[in-house]
Symmetry: C2
Subunit: 323 residues, 2 copies
């Protein structure tokens, strides 16, 4: 087990991943309440909202209000998502966010076409244009991501060669744009990964680019999220996106595409129990998870929020033995 990292970074995406897919409108003040609760957990980064078209994602129409309303806690980075210049400019204008640029390519052109209505070449052109915008606004860029890196509902399995090609394209685009990528996120956007494919893909990228830090963005649609995170840990991955309570997926709806990030507190639990530091207080993250469930008004997929931590049980055992 000596290959497991001693410390990992778990980046919270619940407020953005979760609320965007909810059917009913979530009141702005409740979104802010969840962000403020997450700020108390020790998590180092919270993606609070998405500056996208309110027509496409009605639940994100209040992005500016959310950004203006939460309480900044020192030491926490507050980020957001945008897909174009207009979104970025709205995010910057709030003057309340930690604006960092990220480049994104997609391993499935069919998915890209459906998701962003672009061909791969159009997407590369958009990345180049975005790099110009980041430069103009003096936004630091050090991260990129590859969507659908493990498979696609519309194109099927994605080859390791394809992922390696995209990593190289991202590095080339960054070089051309005068930025240095420190981290590439491999996203299992449609939940095709298994521990074996995590080993295979992460291993191949790591072999070719030993200096590049990798992160994993895992979805749990087929129940593999935590196992895939463990496989990532075994490959030395030190950064994970996650969503409190498993927000983003409803286990009671049929899933047509992406759904449900790996659950933050379940991942923190696993790390805690395996002596991997996360900096996150599990009990506080469970409180945030219960709050998230109350806010959306239906059961969320997280397990530890229902099963409880072992820390609490160990305390009870200790107390009983001390009697």
């Amino acid at each position: 087990m000596s290959d497991l990292p001693s410390r990992v970074r778990i980046l919270e995406e619940g407020p953005r991943e979760g609320f965007q897919i909810e059917k009913g409108a979530i009141p702005t003040r409740r979104k802010i309440e969840l962000i403020d609760s997450l700020s108390e957990t020790g998590v180092e980064q919270i993606q609070i909202t998405s500056f996208v078209s309110p027509k496409a994602v009605p639940n994100m129409a209040d992005a500016v209000e959310v950004a203006k309303g939460f309480s900044r806690k020192p030491g926490v980075r507050y980020t957001a998502l945008w897909l174009n210049d207009k979104g970025l400019e709205r995010a910057i204008a709030t003057e309340r966010l930690d604006i960092r640029g990220s480049l994104s390519l997609t391993a499935s052109e069919t998915f890209l076409k459906r998701n962003q209505n672009r061909t791969h070449d159009e997407n590369v052109a958009a990345v180049k244009s975005m790099l110009g915008t980041y430069k103009y606004h003096k936004v630091p860029v050090n991260r990129a991501s590859i969507m659908a890196a493990f498979g696609c509902n519309f194109e099927g399995d994605v080859s390791v060669t394809k992922v390696l090609d995209l990593v190289q394209q991202l590095l080339d685009l960054a070089l051309e744009g005068g930025v240095t990528l420190e981290l590439i996120s491999l996203a299992d956007t449609m939940a095709w990964a298994t521990p074996a494919s995590i080993h295979k893909v992460v291993g191949a990228v790591r072999n070719r680019y030993p200096g590049l830090e990798l992160s994993l963005h895992l979805h749990d649609t087929r129940g593999m999220g935590i196992a895939n995170a463990f496989a990532g840990l075994q490959m030395g991955v030190k950064t994970f996106d996650a969503a409190v309570a498993g927000l983003g997926g409803c286990p009671f709806a049929s899933h047509s595409g992406a759904s449900g990030n790996v659950c933050t507190e379940d991942l923190v639990f696993m790390c805690d129990e395996m002596s991997i530091e996360t900096g996150i207080n599990l009990e506080k993250m469970i409180e945030s998870a219960l709050l998230a469930e109350e806010i959306v008004g239906h059961p969320l997929p997280g397990s530890v929020m229902k099963g409880g931590s072992l820390g609490r049980l160990r305390q009870k055992v200790k107390a009983r033995l001390a009697q």
Copy 2:
């Protein structure tokens, strides 16, 4: 990944694990319907019911009717659970089951006391007595299990030494009783295991008893079930208990103790995708899972039954490409 087995045995415990904890009464004919559905999945063993006191477990009062009612499919073993001579004799009397004996010790005496109202010594005496009963009825005995092998809600963490001691005690008891144990099941009865502790405990037992086959009985209360199964596969474990749809646990109740076996079809999905043969047809197991959910009348924890298999998606991709 070369240490993963090429074939595993997944033993179905859903009808027993699942129905015993349901609050409402499940009609006998529906229990039989699920067993008959499971018989069509290719699974090699189904634990169909529990011959225990109807006072303690009201939902198992119809054990004899269930045993008499299902349709035996050639090639499938139909087993049941009992905790004493009376239960065993009721099971034998049905003349419809594959009666095999199993010895059981528990790593936590506090749990044993609460669960079976016995001290460890009383439990050892009960095992000896049961061995006599098995001999009398000519019941083959080749399996044993250790409950609470990874931790206990009432005693806390369980040491590896404790587990090793219990393995030795079981082997001694078997030797004394004139039977040969081929397999010892390590049960994570209260969901304390993580992939790290699976590696540690399975590794220690394997090191000391290299000829002994191990199986894992995993609960998913804290969302670690599939990750723990993967860790087991990495340690060469080839036999797993599982429950269709994750029966046995309700994600919407607070868990005070044991709950929810690892989900059969999620485990089959992971194995399929990692080229590990199970002999089980995933699509048919998903059908059984959906039937189980309909029978209990509330959502069950399984993921692949909601997210769908990748096999189906690959077929669609192929069909589209062929157009």
